[in-house]
Symmetry: C2
Amino acid sequence: MSATNSLSTEDLGSTAQRDRRKRILDATYELASEGGFDAVQMRAVAEAAEVALGTLYRYFPSKIHLLVSALGRQFESAESSLVTRPVPGDTPAERVIWVLKRTSRGLQGDPHLTEALTRAFMFADASVANEIHAVGMSMTSILTHAMDPERSTEVTEDDVAIARVIGDVWLSALVAWVTGRSTAAETAAHMETAVRMLLRD
Amino acid sequence: MSATNSLSTEDLGSTAQRDRRKRILDATYELASEGGFDAVQMRAVAEAAEVALGTLYRYFPSKIHLLVSALGRQFESAESSLVTRPVPGDTPAERVIWVLKRTSRGLQGDPHLTEALTRAFMFADASVANEIHAVGMSMTSILTHAMDPERSTEVTEDDVAIARVIGDVWLSALVAWVTGRSTAAETAAHMETAVRMLLRD
DNA sequence: GGACCAGGTGGAACGTGTTCCTATCATGCT
DNA sequence: AGCATGATAGGAACACGTTCCACCTGGTCC
């Protein structure tokens, strides 16, 4: 295990360690939610999680790893709540739009958190590839599920390609929204247009 | 003019000032090209451009403004060279793909520079909206021109929407490539797929 | 020529991410 | 129990973006 990776839950032997990891991610979440990216200061996280700064860095080798890991945890819970439930809508396009809107509404409800996590995601480099990949898989899985909730057929390459493009648009829109370059409404409209272009019924 | 904006060429009265601005952007370019985002250190830029640190900050209020402005200059020159020349390809999709490939090849030829500029673009917040908007316009203009070089008809809303989606995919691909999460070939293939889905002949 | 002043210089200082070091603590082995 | 070993605490130190300040310069107006 190289030093450029975050410690995952499986790597952690003792209960105390798993607990520390959780405390750290909770503190990150809390701080991000209150004040966004800038408020997630490593010293503050360490203090709030009641661990030493060195320990924090032992668990997460950088602020970016920390935030992306927190993002990953978010996505996993979003994924499980979206994939297990029926998605309303008669066509793939409508279902995907529904999922995106629902997700966006969730994100817009906590702008600081969203800003922090999106920034981290965009700033991540190759050393965060594992964490990023996990997020990408969640995203694709959420979208392909929305496209065909019954999964009557196998997921095709085309489905994945479409999901990826939608994911790209979604990310760009998120970045534009987070950085104050477009409003929530513009973002929503743009995504809807994109989805309809990609998923003509 | 608020302090949160970069000084543009028009704001600069004297030749000496325009010259300083140019020296700064040249130095930025040079450093970015050699060592990427991290190598563009404000002290280093100031020294290379032979201006004081305070002066640098007077011209560009932050490292991000500086890099995004440098990116803007790049895009303008790309735009003028791509828009004035005939674009090969028989269909919109082929022409767009040609333009994207050409541009990508240019970017891949200078990975550090690309990394620096992409990072900056992704990290920019609302205070950089002007600079970002300029880049977005260049991008859209390049793509709509490739879609219909003769411009027999007006640019429609649909054209712009498609161009924006392609721009989004392009940006995401660029981020993935720059951060080492995908190879140049994967990036190219993904963009080609996206363009063909969006611009079915 | 002299006074004025916007813009420039040089550099100190501050905040925050990151690294590093030493002492302390917990846990398993003999 | 005594000990070895790895993890944690606590905190100093460093790097770089950013801010600030005291002073200087080169035009402009009288």
